[in-house]
Each structure stands twice: as C-alpha cells, then as structure tokens.
Symmetry: C2
Subunit: 379 residues, 2 copies
C-alpha cells in the first residue's frame, strides 16, 4: 500500500425521516439556504426542511436557481448576499451542484478577491463557513468530501477546488428524498458513482491493493444492482438507500486511500464536454469512460479482465468494456459523442479545453493529441 492521509470529519445522518432533524444541527446559526430549480417545493422536501428550521427557531434566508452544471456567477451573487445578511452557515438542499455551490460560497465568504482565484490556484482556501447538507440526489458524494466543481461561463472552464475546510459538518441522507429523482438523473448518478470508483481502480499506481479493490467491486456491484431496481420501482426504499450510501462511499476518500497517485482522466475530459456543451455530468462520463478504457485496453488488460469477471462474468478486456457500454445503454446513458449531438469536428476544440484541466491536475501525459485520440474512440 502507498502512504496516505485519510481524514473525513463529516457526520452522516442516514435514514427515512431524518430531514426533519436538520434544524437541530444548524440550531443557533443564521443560514443561507441554497437550492436548485425548485423541485424540492413540489416533492415536499422544502416544506420539511423549513418546518424543521422553524421548529428550532433557526433564522434563514434563501437563494435558489442553481443549475445542474453550477456556475461561478451564481456563487458571486450568493457571496454578496451572505455577507450582506451576515449569515453564519450554508445549508445546501440538493445534489452535487447545490453542495458544490455552497462550498464555493463558504470559502469565498472570507476572501477579498474573486472566488474564481481558488479554482485557478491563485489563492488557497484556509477558512470557510460551516456547510450543512440535506441530500436530494445520490451521485456526486460532495456530501461527504471536501471538493467542488464549478463552471466559469466566461472562460468556459469547469474547474475544481479542494480544501479541508469544505467538508460538510453534517449531511442528512434520507433515501425517501430521492424517490422522485427521474430516470435520467438516476442514470447520471449511477454513471457518476461508478466512474468515481473506477478512476482510482484503473489509475492507482500501486500494483496490489486488495482492500481498495474489494471495496470498489462491492460498490460497483451494489450500484448496478440497485440502479436496475430503482428503474423498475422508484420507491424501493432498500434500492434507494443502498444506491445512496454506495454513491457517497464512492468518493469520500476511502477507495483511493493507499492506491498511490492515481488520477481522474475521465472526469478531466468529461468536464470539458459539460463546460462546452452543458452536457449532464453523468452523460459526459458515460461517453468518455468506454473510450478511455479502449485507449488503455492493453495496459489495463489484466485488471479489466478481473473486473469483468467479478462484475459481469466476462472473461476478457474487450468484453468487459462492451459490458460496461451495454450497462450504460441499458439505463439510458449515452456512450458516443453523436448521442449527445456532438460532432466529430469538435474533438480538437474539446481536447484543447481539457488540456487546461490536465495541466492543473498535473496529468502531463494528457496532451491535446492524446485527448483527441481518446475522443476519436467515442465517435
């Protein structure tokens, strides 16, 4: 095993009905409540949160309208509001886009310069307002990690931040809050969580990591099985619960601790697809992963074969990649650029955009040419 530091102080409060405990956790603080397009007002989550806050006498203001690929302009507005209203904490009610927005606001609150500086490594996050979460979409694991990804609409960059101050204090995971998540978002979450664990599984530099590999295989098995159940029966509590916890564990530091310096090349390329075409994060990954695996098929042959055996009962690398593609198609996720209406002629432009993140992440082997060749395999 390679050396590592594992640290994750987020408190997870998991179970049906736990939404109504949120007031207890933020008690005594003035909150900025953040959420998305307003679906939480239709499915009752908003009402449950508000009544819990009122019950505990929590004072709060709110700002809504966060988009699925959240943008930095919204963050700037929210920072101004948070300062003007002198809030003590942020309460994110939503999925990854809302939580990531809350993290950027929490850090930006204490910074005199422009918050985007954090994303381009011009400034380092050392302080942030406390962040609390009521999760409504299982996918990103942002509820139990210290990272966030935002898009700068002007520069067309989808970049990330990461700092210990950004771990949510408490995240409420109530599986019933995801009963109304539509099929397309379930598919996106399923792809996202699977790619989260597979990034480390296939890029970790240490040759023998039985604990991490076993955990990843367990999570992928669980995610595939529960996605299928959710597609059939959206209110299957156990399926929603296992899917939710698996997605959280998929990117909370556990499966990558000790694997050595890996990387997230699929996310790197996928982020460019979202930045340029506002493509769903999950859809960007279901397109990139098979292409990336094909590009690396020979190097990864042994591990791909093992993975295929354990997960799909397949016996070689090519069949494993095909099985992953088949699974993505089965749940309605695209696996080719054309399915997202992105023409082959765009590849150089995408590759040029992705190189920016490759440089930021120190993935030196990912030149524009290499990225373009990977994308050619997604045509």
């Amino acid at each position: 095993m390679k050396e590592f530091v594992f640290y994750n102080p987020t408190r997870i409060v998991f179970g049906e009905g736990k939404t109504s405990e949120i007031g207890k956790y933020v008690s005594g603080q003035k909150c900025l409540l953040l959420y998305g397009s307003g679906s939480i007002k239709q499915n009752g989550i908003y009402d449950r949160v508000i009544s819990s806050l009122k019950e505990q006498g929590v004072s709060f203001i709110e700002k809504s309208g966060i988009k699925p690929n959240p943008v930095i302009s919204f963050v700037r507005e929210a920072i101004d509001l948070a300062r003007k209203e002198q809030v003590d904490c942020l309460l994110a009610v939503g999925g990854g886009s809302v939580i990531d927005t809350a993290k950027a606001v929490a850090a930006g609150f204490y910074y005199e310069g422009d918050v985007w500086d954090y994303f381009i490594n011009k400034a380092r996050i050392t302080r942030a307002l406390p962040i609390y979460v009521v999760l409504t979409l299982a996918a990103s694991a942002s509820e139990m990690n210290c990272g966030a990804v935002l898009t700068n609409e002007e520069t067309k960059q989808k970049f990330n931040i990461s700092a210990e101050a950004l771990f949510p204090r408490t995240s409420i995971l109530d599986p019933t809050n995801t009963y109304t998540v539509p099929r397309r978002q379930v598919a996106n979450g399923s792809v996202d969580a699977i790619v989260h664990v597979l990034e480390g599984y296939f890029t970790g530099t240490y040759p023998h990591t039985p604990i991490q590999d076993g955990f990843v295989e367990t999570l992928v098995k669980t995610i595939i099985a529960t996605t299928r159940k959710i597609m059939e029966s959206p209110t299957d509590y156990d399926a929603r619960a296992n899917f939710m916890w698996a997605a959280t564990l998929a990117l909370n530091g556990l499966t990558t601790a000790g694997i050595g310096k890996g990387g997230s090349p699929n996310h790197m390329i996928g982020h460019s697809l979202s930045a340029l075409y506002d493509l769903d994060h999950g859809a960007s990954l279901s397109i990139v992963l098979p292409a990336w695996l094909k590009y690396n098929q020979q190097t990864l042959a042994r591990k791909l074969t093992h993975f295929g055996q354990v997960i799909f009962g397949q016996n070689d690398a090519a069949a494993t990649i095909k099985a992953i593609e088949d699974y993505f198609h089965e749940i309605g996720a695209p696996i080719r650029l054309s399915e997202a209406n992105i023409d082959r002629s765009e590849i150089q432009k995408i590759a040029e955009n992705a190189v920016g993140l490759a440089r930021k992440w120190g993935l030196k082997s990912y030149t524009q040419d290499v990225i373009a060749r990977i994308l050619e395999l997604a045509v």
Copy 2:
C-alpha cells in the same frame, strides 16, 4: 438499510516513516506519553517518537507499564500524574491496551469522581483531553474509534466506554512499526479483527446489506491472506500494511453502519475470560467464536454458508465453522477452553461474570444459562 449516524473525525497518517511526523501533530502541547512494557525501547520506535517530539520542541512526561489487558488502577495513577503535571494531551504509543488506557485517562482528567463511574454508566463522558496515537500493533482499531475497554481488577469486570470525545485526533499507522510484533500477537490481532467484523456480519438485524457484507468479506479475505504472509515473512511491508489498514477498518464504524441493532456477544463472553484468567483478548475470541457460531448454527445457516463459500470455498454452515477453527489453529490461536487451561468446571463462573456485560449492553437473551450453553460448546 437501517438508519445510522456515521461520524469519524480521526486523521489517519499511514505509511513507512510517518512516526517521525508525530511531533508536528502534537506541537505546542504538553504531552503525557503512555506506553507498555518497553518493547518500543528495543525496536527503536521510542527513539523515533522522542526525537520527533524534541525536534518540534514538544514538552512531555511519560508513564509506562501498561499491560496487555489494561487495568483501571493504572488509569487512576495516570490521571493523577496528568493533573499534577497539567498536560494538554495524551500520546499513546502502542496497541489497543495503550490507546484504551489513554482514552480513559483523557476522559477521567475532567471528572471529579472515580473514572470507573464512566464504565458502569454512573457518569457520561462529554469532555476529554486530545488523544494522539503512534500505533505499534494492528488489532483493536482503537486508533480509529471512540471506544475503550478496561479491566477493574477489584471487581473482575472488563467493561467498555464509548464517547465522541474519545476519537483520537491523529493516529500514525506506520506498518514498519509492527515488523517485530511476535507471532502470538499477530495471531491475536488477526482473530480480533476478524471477530470485530463478524460480530456485525452475523448479528445485524437488517436482512440485506450488500455494501457492509461486501466490505466485511473483503476485510476478512485480506486479514487471512496477510496473516499467513506475515507468519512466513514478518517484514513483508505489503502484508503488514494491508493487515494494519484492514484491522483499523474492521472497527471504525464503517462495516456496522446501516446493519441495524447488532451486538458483540463474542466480545461479551471473551471479556469475561480475560477478566477472570487474564487471557489474551485474541485468544478469548478464538475460543468463543466457534462455540457461538455452533450455538447459532441453524439461525445463521444461510449466511454462514455464503460466508464459507466466499472465504473458504466451503458449502455448508458446519464446514464453514470448521474452516474458521482450522484457520485459528493454523495461526496458533486456541479454539477450546482446555487449550487455555480453563476447566469445564469454571463455566458457570464465567457465565455469571459475562451476564454483567450482557446487562450493560442490553443483550437480554444472553442469560447465564445461555452463556453457559455456548461455553459448553468450547469444551
């Protein structure tokens, strides 16, 4: 999945050479350094810790002599010393017995009454001095949980405490610090870690917990494989590293989150064997587990069979129990009371002692008679 709260704020610093970073973590505080019989002075760990403390200008006092089954009288002395010297934190250099002692001292420091009150639920722990750990023995997972078990020599009770204030702040896990752990202690650690995960695996009340089960199976496979390697080659870094991390993950809350109200009946009975006969903790468990499994063989038949298939390639419950016994014997752990020189005539006395813990833990079905019948299966 059942509802749960998962919270674990301990920072794990894992890898070869990390011992020399301990000074950085306790910097600016006056430490009470606790350790055991002094083996750390022979294998160089003591010197590495001291030089790291001195490098950072950390002021410290020390108290050694903690026994494998740690006792409350030592804790009382250490509390007096900690108060007299006005220390700011505790630094445990050792395995479970040293860490558990540090936890009891850390809590007792702030309590006016006798520290044993915490163990018999006469008082509740709300504050504790910060605890830091340099782990030298992989077994208990005390380095990443908030529990401790101590023996009261006068009352012959081996009882536990548990409180959030007792999570170590930082635990250094340097696998090379375990190179000199002798075979008997490796066997004890192997048994302890396996029983830690199996307690939940076999007692969890929720019928279908694929994530937790998969994690447990991964950990058990890893522990068995690495124990065998360590027995052959005590300085196999990878084996020591995987064993160490697996043992930590075996009782840090991860594998029990969501399984429902389980219990630790094997530990409950094992603790009595240690309290009455000063038997090694691991040895007490390798004797109790097969007997407990036999007692519950019919109820657990399906899960035992599945476990046997995954871990040992066995196909029924009885064969699985036999495979566990064979594994324990293979690594030199006792599986019968007679192997620990405990006569059958002692069974009622042991059962009477164990009922005390059964009551404390709310394991109502474990009457003296039931415990005696389980122990009969260990004759």
